[in-house]
Symmetry: C2
Subunit: 426 residues, 2 copies
């Protein structure tokens, strides 16, 4: 398509989404559940066909010389598809929050005022590589009564098109509008620029991908963005704490997986427990090949640990999201210094305290300015499934609108509803 046609195409997507959003917003719960269950069934019925489509993406990726871990992320294996289907079924049976009315109270004038939860309207999602995101986004969109425009990565275009066809069939089976979920059918990058500057048709943009993508979209968008930048997550080991638990949780937060945004990147240790705690966690990190970038004080304690990979930390380490077997280590006097350090260097994603002191736990919960603040559990829990949201469209590191893992509720807004009996203002 040329630029003019692209503009017309994107505009048409917007108009269609807007029209569909009104129908989606008033769709009965039963129809939304029917569509989700149909989608689960269609995914299972089409496992073989989907893998044929997926193979074209994989072949193209390998021919283009993509590294194998990147190719892996493109794969629609039967297991991945089954997980997608189960996700749809879980959403289908979750309570429908659209239309719920909260806080209805009578006011001195006699009117009753409450708030009704309604879909936000149209969201645009821009994501890279993994095609299963197409199903996650489509199913959350259906459940939340929104319309959406999905713009997946060009490397997964064949898989995404095949999945979107199934979504369309599921919508049709349930009597929901065909434009309730639209996949951008071209890989032309111009479409993104358009999509994020149509406030008349798109109510919010959700980018999922690398920091570069998200910064670019945030900079250029003319509509609100639910953005997730980096996850520089901290674990603070307090004095007093249960050392065995602190070791177990710190290890899990860093090493259970290195790539997720909620993996821990920085370890703060109260001086009072450092001599006991650090050699133990150091030995576990050493065994797993985790490099420790510490202050001289921390390194002095870690020095005797056999096989420890020790590096002196520089200022930049405190802000770094490694997403790798590296962790920064610093000693602090106690909870106040830990909170100050975290509020200065954290990306406000997820931070944890491991403590047995109630007052320290409460202080940490109140004063750490992050989307998820955790006492005595791994930072790795910070996601929509673990938090009980049923599903997650992303994680927001912003304070505005949705904060932390964003599930169905983050795709809704509250409007005021007023019930009167003829009241007038005097």
């Amino acid at each position: 398509m040329n630029a003019l046609n692209l503009a017309e195409y994107t505009h048409a997507l917007g108009v269609q989404a807007k029209v569909a959003s009104a129908l989606m917003a008033r769709a009965p719960s039963a129809a939304k559940s029917k569509a989700l269950k149909a989608l689960a069934r269609l995914l299972r019925e089409n496992i073989d066909a989907l893998q044929v489509d997926n193979a074209r993406d994989l072949d193209r990726a390998r021919a283009a010389g993509l590294p194998e871990p990147m190719v892996d992320r493109l794969k629609l294996t039967p297991k991945v598809l089954e997980t997608c289907a189960e996700g749809c079924e879980q959403l289908a049976v979750m309570p429908d929050i659209i239309g719920e009315i909260i806080g209805m109270k009578q006011q001195p004038s006699g009117i009753r005022v409450g708030q009704m939860r309604v879909p936000i309207g149209v969201f645009g999602m821009i994501y890279e590589s993994r095609p299963n995101v197409t199903i996650e986004a489509a199913s959350l969109s259906i459940k939340s009564g929104n319309a959406c425009i999905l713009r997946g990565g060009s490397e997964a275009i064949d898989s995404n098109k095949a999945l979107a066809l199934l979504v369309g069939r599921a919508l049709a089976e349930a009597g929901l509008p065909e434009h309730g979920v639209q996949l951008v059918q071209t890989t032309d990058r111009e479409v993104v620029g358009q999509l994020i500057t149509m406030p008349e048709y798109v109510d919010v943009i959700i980018p999922r991908g690398g920091k570069g993508l998200i910064e670019r979209i945030s900079r250029d968008a003319r509509v609100p963005v639910i953005k997730h930048l980096d996850g520089n997550c901290h674990v603070y080991v307090d004095d007093p704490c249960d050392i065995a638990m602190a070791v177990r949780v710190s290890e899990n937060a860093k090493t259970q997986k290195y790539s997720p945004c909620n993996a821990s990147e920085s370890l703060l240790v109260a001086r009072g427990v450092a001599d006991e705690f650090l050699p133990k966690i150091g030995a576990l990190f050493a065994a797993k090949g985790v490099e420790m970038r510490g202050t001289p004080e921390a390194l002095a304690i870690l020095e005797p640990v056999a096989g420890a990979r020790l590096v002196e930390a520089v200022e930049a380490d405190w802000s770094e999201e490694y997403l790798a077997p590296i962790i920064s280590v610093k000693l602090v006097d106690g909870v106040d210094e830990a909170i100050a350090h975290i509020n200065r260097y954290s990306s406000h994603h997820t931070d944890a305290i491991l403590t047995t002191n109630h007052l320290h736990a409460q202080k940490f919960l109140r004063e750490v300015d992050s989307a998820s603040v955790i006492v005595n559990a791994s930072t790795r829990f910070a996601d929509g499934f673990e938090f009980g949201l049923g599903a997650e469209i992303g994680i927001s590191t912003d304070k505005f609108h949705a904060r932390g893992p964003v599930g169905i509720e983050g795709l809704t807004s509250l409007k005021y509803v007023v019930l009167g009996e003829g009241e007038v203002r005097s």
Copy 2:
């Protein structure tokens, strides 16, 4: 100040606000209440002094040839100041919502997950003329545990400076940080451009003023904006309805005051009740000199009304926010057509249905896509005080974050809090 100094000045405001915001966020409820009560006392003690400062603004405004209604809006009369003081006292005794924890539930992993209400951080407020907004914004900022940077109109600079000094004294009396509330001390317009592009220091911008100001700020801002564009509010008179009530409420919605954003600008009438309803409301509008811009069909019914000022409506009338004794009038088949018209032309601010039919009322509540949707009461009720929010920093016509009247809750966000007993992710 020159451009470089201005940039430094605004940057310093941002840094100071950020530092103060952490202290405000953890301020005890008692300290916030003490500051609000002190501010109320100081306003009353300084009524005479404030009027001297205010007089300088008034003199300057008159010398500049400002029309008298504009000069009126600048006035800090004893009555205006007493209202400000009472507002502070009301906020002081309201419950403190900062720190409340909602929805704490145990998850299958064993962790307990809830959400804690916390201040949003730093808000910037940009407003025109009325200096009492300085006190409204300062008091809401104190109560909500935020820091704020206030940028009032240049025409009220002397009044605003005097009020800000009192706010500073009240903060000091309560042991709260002096930079918790900062007034921009220069009238240079460059400051606004800076203030709205410092996401590292300012979490949200709230403009209050004309549509031009708000559009400009929304376009240029690099931080979220709680914006209130126009208020094209509708009253729909349904079939069936209580005609006497419909007449009373329609009249109130249009004529109780013409200038507020929640005044009604458009009247939709079901054909089944038009012959009975329209002549009655037409006579009241005629008596008050309200011009009626109707479809030929509506005008035919209104024609016999003595003294009626009738004009044939053009397409633009359906989108117009008159803020004047003018109303557009159209007949519709029933609730479906009314909803379709409203969702097309409304500014999504406030729309009302007057009906005795339960199903119509429910449909209207669910399907009208506006911040406030009202059954059987005047649109004029759509404000923070009438909705029981205690106070109002503005009205949002957006769907994102806060929608409708924005009170203390709109200046907060919810962070996730997780309580564990050493859980790790497997």
